[in-house]
Structures are given as structure tokens and as C-alpha cells.
Symmetry: C2
């Protein structure tokens, strides 16, 4: 992983995440100018009273000793600028970019973040918000997009779960160490995210969340997504803060409307009315704003002239029998469709030729971006 | 009523509403150029084949005979341009302005339309939409604004009822004669509107509604309000048509958001997202867009520096005990507030001096524009 980064620089960046708080622009400038190893050396050698700023960082020097062991126990890796896994999007944060990230999970962060949308919202969400966040995330996942969120109760959790439900990668950016089960009830959710995606933090393992860290964490969520969707938010909320950070980064801010009688939607309505957020109602709306013109164009997902409109009934039946979220053998597809093998294979060939299906090691699925649009009118 | 309009011209305009369909721009130009009496004369004297257009109008000449009797039975008056009761806002329709209006009810149309908002929406609305339309209309009525709508099932009815509930005038613009109980179940509602406001139509008494007439009626609703609010609308709906007509007239178009899971809100979300409608959640939002800067300024209704912020607790308690929608005796206010008569009278005097309460024939209420904002935190 990232052999081009000198080991000392990597280690120094990791150490600085222990000594400083996230989003420290002074430190960002120092590291950009001198390199992390030199900055760390200066922190270590600073004498009391010599440089007040460096003195602050010295306070936590004793904690550094335990970090290697902590990181191993946490199953975390350090990702720094220049690594393959470093998401280029974070560089937009300039001097407030993370010095390094602690990453845990089977996913590859840069890959996951390449086509990603941040979905955030109230902890104290309603059943409506939870439902919408889950559907939105599943819709994004089905179309090959990664959902980035904060791993919190409420909208965050619903968004992560929606992505996981369609077996899509999702990224949780925490305001504590990636080994810290916060909130405690999300231990299982965070494990599931690690199994399919990644859990990320600027803070080294063992770090506890603080109010300040939540706010600084929000800028990483805002930077990782191509845009930020707020699903439910009270008039003052962390989600609105994340939206503001996305706006500062010139990323599209989107908000889901809700009943005007619901306090949980007030923040969303404020964002739309006063702050120029786009009103979005589903994944298609979101991708109209942040998606790639060709791959994600609405008419391929929803519109009148879908490629399969011209399919013969037998081929359409095979298409409808094809799973989206996993792969299946041609035999299995034939059983679902109730068609014999030669017919199924001919149809699969046609579907593959028009880009509606693809095969990998002899197992077939619908091409994710091509469908989900038509709910099969009737089984069979 | 408008003695300056020659009787022959008034009668001719009334007659032309029988002979032509609403929104007939050709007729509008002819009347503007020649006067209604001359146009009617030419219709009467036209011979078959001489002028195809005039020939069309001749088809209904036999129906004219019964109109005087019908109008009397309907309790309707004819209002034409130049009359005191003619709303100047209709002139914005240009050659598509109504030739004349048939008006029934105790209200005065021009007065009612001076500060008015059109509130429209789906016939097949949800309980949510009905609730929001009612609250919105009551909020507008409380602030001295008239609600204009179409008298239909659903949102229209809820808006009219919301206005009536706060004893505010409301205007129903029908696509049939003002004497035609359509829909039949709204006979009582239309009677209530006539008692406090007005029922209006371009069509003479006895006329039945048609699809075309509904669409043409919408332009009158759009023109009468300073802006149009759509509360709930499916993706294709009459309410969106009204919104389009308001937009054509450069009147603000507003829409109330709702759950993205509700088909009844899809049209509203489309208006906000794609068509530039403003998202509004209550009467205060609406008046931010169409209200008068001083009278309706948000800080008088909601803002930080409300006059009563400086009130002593006892006076505030009396204020909260004061009804908004009706008047009450000082004794009754005292009972609600749990305060003795001298205390209540002193507080009422103070409230009257600061404009927060007013008395009429010894009966008190909160001054409508001054409050409704603070829901009393707790009774007592």
C-alpha cells in the first residue's frame, strides 16, 4: 500500500493525528511546508516556552507510545496523501485536509469515494425520514454509488443500512477512533460497514468523540461526497452544518422535503428556501445533480425510451428474472423465468449485447445502472 | 355600484358572457375596440355565412331571453370593468380578461381581492394537505388576507373553510354559474362563502362546468391573487395549471412540500425543483413573498423583537387569554387568565396602548396582525 510514501513521513503523519485536533489549519500549513517528519521532530525537540503552538502538541507526546499496538488491535491502517487509497476529493479541503486517515474495513476508500454521495440527517429522525434515507441509499447503491455518512443514530444509520441492504459499499466517517464503538448500539452496524465498505476517522484508535470533533468530522463527510443530501434536520443541526461545509466546498447541497407539520423537516425546508439547496425526492433526483451525464442520465433510469422497451416478451421475462444485487447462474435464471436453457442463453446474450446484463465467471446479473427502474409489473 | 357604466354596455357585457366562452381573446379585442353594445349588435344582426365568428355567437342568442330572470333567482350581480367592485388585478389578463363577472355574496369583490392569495390544490388531497391548506388559509385570514380558490373538493374546500373559520372573507371562482351547486356536496360551503365573501364566475347563472371552463377559470384565480400557493398536486393537475397561469402573469408561484412518499405532493415538489416555485410552509412564508413590507413583515409576526417580549408576566398572561378569532368580555378574559377584574382591565389597557389588543363595543380580542405567532407556551 502506497510504497511511494516514505515510512517516516507516514509514521509522522499518523503521530500528528494523535497530537493535534482535526482540521488544524496551522498544522496543515506546517506539514505542507516542512513535511510531517520535520514538523514532528520540531514538536519533539521544542522546549517549554520556546514556541507556544508546538508546546500544545507536546502535551500528548506520551500517548504516542501506545499507538502502534492500538492500531493493530483496531485493525486500522493509516492512509496518507499520495497513497492509492487516499481520496483526491479530500484535497479540496486545502490546509484543513486531514493529515492522515485511519481506515478500517474490506473496502478501498478511494475507490468507494470515486462515485459517492453524502447522506446525512437528524439523529432524532422520524419513521418517514428513516424510510426515505434507506430508500435513497439503496437507490444510490443500486446505481453503483457509495453512500458516505457519519455512523450516527437516525438518518445516518438508515442511510448506511440502505446501502448495505443492496450490497453496496458505504463509508462511515467517525468523530472518534475507528475502534471506538460509538454509539455503543452501533457496534454491529459498524462491523457490517467494515465487512463491505470502510470506517474512517482522522482520529487515531482509542479517541473519544467530542462536540468539536463532530463538527470537524462533518467537513470530511462533506468533502468525500460529490454532493450532500440532508434527509431530515431540525432548524439547528449537525446535518445543516455538514450541508454548509459542502456548500463551502462548492459541492451541491440537496435536501429532502417532508411534511411542513414535522419539526424534523424544518431544517430541510430552510435549506431549500433560503440557502439554495436543491429539492430531491429520490436517488434519480440526486444523480441528476451529481451523477455522470451518460452513466446516470435519468432517461436511462426512468425515462420513456428505455432500451428494454424494444425487447421481445421472452427476453424481457429473462431480464426480469435476473437478480440485480447478486449474480445467478443461467440455470437459476431459467428456473425463475420458467424458460428452457437454450432460450435463456439466447436471451442473456441479447441482454449482454445491449448492456442490460453482464456475466462474470458464468454468473449473471442485471447491469446495475441499467435498471431497477421498471418494477417488474407482475412476477412471471 | 358603478353608475358610470352605461346600462346598455353593462347589459351587453352580461349578454356576451352567455354567448361566448370564457377567455375568448378575439371577443376581448372586439369589445375593447368597439364596445360591448356594438359587438352585441353586430352579433344580433349578423346573417348566416356573413361572418363565421359572429355566427358562432349567434347560436346561443335564444338563451339570452331567460337571463334576467335567472340572474334574479341566483341573487347575482354583474360586475364589469369600471365598476367599483371590478378587481383591477384582472386587467393584467389583457384581452383574455373576463368580459364581465357574475358575483354573488355579501362581500365586495374588489375589496376582498386587494390583499389576496390564491390557494389551490388537488381534489384528491390527503388529510395532511387538508390540514395544511386550512392552517395556511386561517393564517392568511388572521393577518387580514383573503383566500381565493376554486370551491372544489379537497384543497380548495379546506382553504375556503380555513378562511371562514377565522371569519375572514374568501372568494370562490367557479367554472359554472354562481347558482349551480357544483359539486353538489358543496352547496352549504358555497352558501357560507356567500355570507362572508363572494362567489364569482365569468359564466352566467345556469351554466354547467366543462373541462375547458375549469382551465379558463384557473386564469381568473391566478389573476385575482397576488400570488398562487399550491398545497398538494399530483404530477398532472389543475392546480399546476393555475400555477402556470400565475407564472405567466408574473405573479409569485409557491408550493407546500410534503412527504416524498406521497403522490399528492409530487406536483408541488416538481414546481419547486424545476419550475422555480418558492417553498412555503405557512402563512408567514407566503406573506414574505407577496405581503406588504411594513404591515406583513415577518418580524412583526414571528421575529425576535416582538412588542410583547417586553411585557410583564401578568400582562402576557392576559394577552394569551385573549381570543384571536372572536371577541370576549373582560370578565371572560379574566376567567381564562385566572386574574381579577382590576388586574385584567389594567393589562387590557396596556395591551391596547401597544396595539396588541383592541376593543369593540366593550369586547376584546388580540389584534390579528400582531400575534397568532406565539403559541401560548402553557395554558394558565
Amino acid at each position: 500500500m502506497g510504497g511511494v510514501i516514505p515510512a517516516a513521513e507516514r509514521a509522522a503523519r499518523a503521530a500528528l493525528t494523535r497530537l493535534a485536533e482535526p482540521g488544524d489549519a496551522w498544522l496543515g500549513r506546517a506539514v505542507a511546508g516542512l513535511g510531517a517528519a520535520e514538523v514532528l521532530d520540531r514538536v519533539r525537540s521544542a522546549r517549554a516556552g520556546e514556541d507556544e503552538r508546538l508546546g500544545h502538541y507536546r502535551v500528548r507526546l506520551p500517548a504516542l507510545a501506545a499507538d502502534r499496538e492500538l492500531a493493530t488491535r483496531a485493525g486500522a491502517r493509516v492512509v496518507v496523501p499520495g497513497d492509492d487509497e487516499w481520496p483526491a476529493a479530500l484535497d479540496d479541503l486545502g490546509e484543513r485536509a486531514p493529515i492522515a486517515l485511519w481506515v478500517a474495513g474490506e473496502g478501498q476508500l478511494a475507490d468507494a469515494a470515486r462515485r459517492s454521495v453524502s447522506v446525512v440527517g437528524a439523529r432524532a429522525c422520524t419513521a418517514y425520514g428513516e424510510h426515505v434515507a434507506g430508500e435513497l441509499a439503496a437507490g444510490l447503491g443500486d446505481r453503483g454509488w457509495t453512500v458516505v455518512s457519519g455512523g450516527a443514530y437516525g438518518i445516518d444509520a438508515a442511510a448506511h443500512r440502505g446501502a448495505l441492504a443492496v450490497d453496496a459499499p458505504t463509508v462511515a466517517v467517525l468523530a472518534c477512533g475507528v475502534d471506538v464503538p460509538y454509539p455503543a448500539a452501533h457496534d454491529g452496524l459498524l462491523r457490517a460497514i467494515r465487512a463491505r465498505g470502510v470506517v474512517v476517522s482522522e482520529l487515531p484508535p482509542g479517541s473519544r468523540p467530542t462536540r468539536r470533533r463532530f463538527l470537524d468530522r462533518n467537513r470530511v463527510i462533506a468533502a468525500l461526497g460529490r454532493g450532500t443530501v440532508v434527509v431530515e434536520a431540525a432548524t439547528r443541526s449537525g446535518a445543516k452544518n455538514t450541508a454548509g461545509q459542502a456548500d463551502d466546498l462548492s459541492r451541491p447541497v440537496m435536501a429532502v422535503p417532508g411534511p411542513v407539520t414535522s419539526a424534523a423537516s424544518v431544517g430541510c425546508h430552510e435549506l431549500i428556501r433560503g440557502r439554495g439547496a436543491a429539492l430531491v425526492t429520490d436517488a434519480a433526483d440526486v444523480l441528476d445533480l451529481v451523477g455522470d451525464l451518460v452513466t446516470d442520465a435519468r432517461d436511462l433510469r426512468r425515462g420513456e425510451a428505455r432500451p428494454h422497451d424494444s425487447l421481445d416478451p421472452v427476453t424481457l421475462r429473462v431480464l426480469e428474472a435476473l437478480p440485480v444485487r447478486r449474480r445467478a447462474s443461467a440455470d437459476s435464471v431459467g428456473r425463475v423465468a420458467g424458460l428452457d436453457a437454450p432460450t435463456v442463453l439466447r436471451a442473456l446474450g441479447l441482454l449482454a449485447a445491449t448492456g442490460l446484463a453482464d456475466a462474470h465467471e458464468g454468473r449473471w446479473r442485471r447491469t446495475p445502472t441499467a435498471t431497477r427502474a421498471p418494477e417488474p409489473p407482475m412476477p412471471g
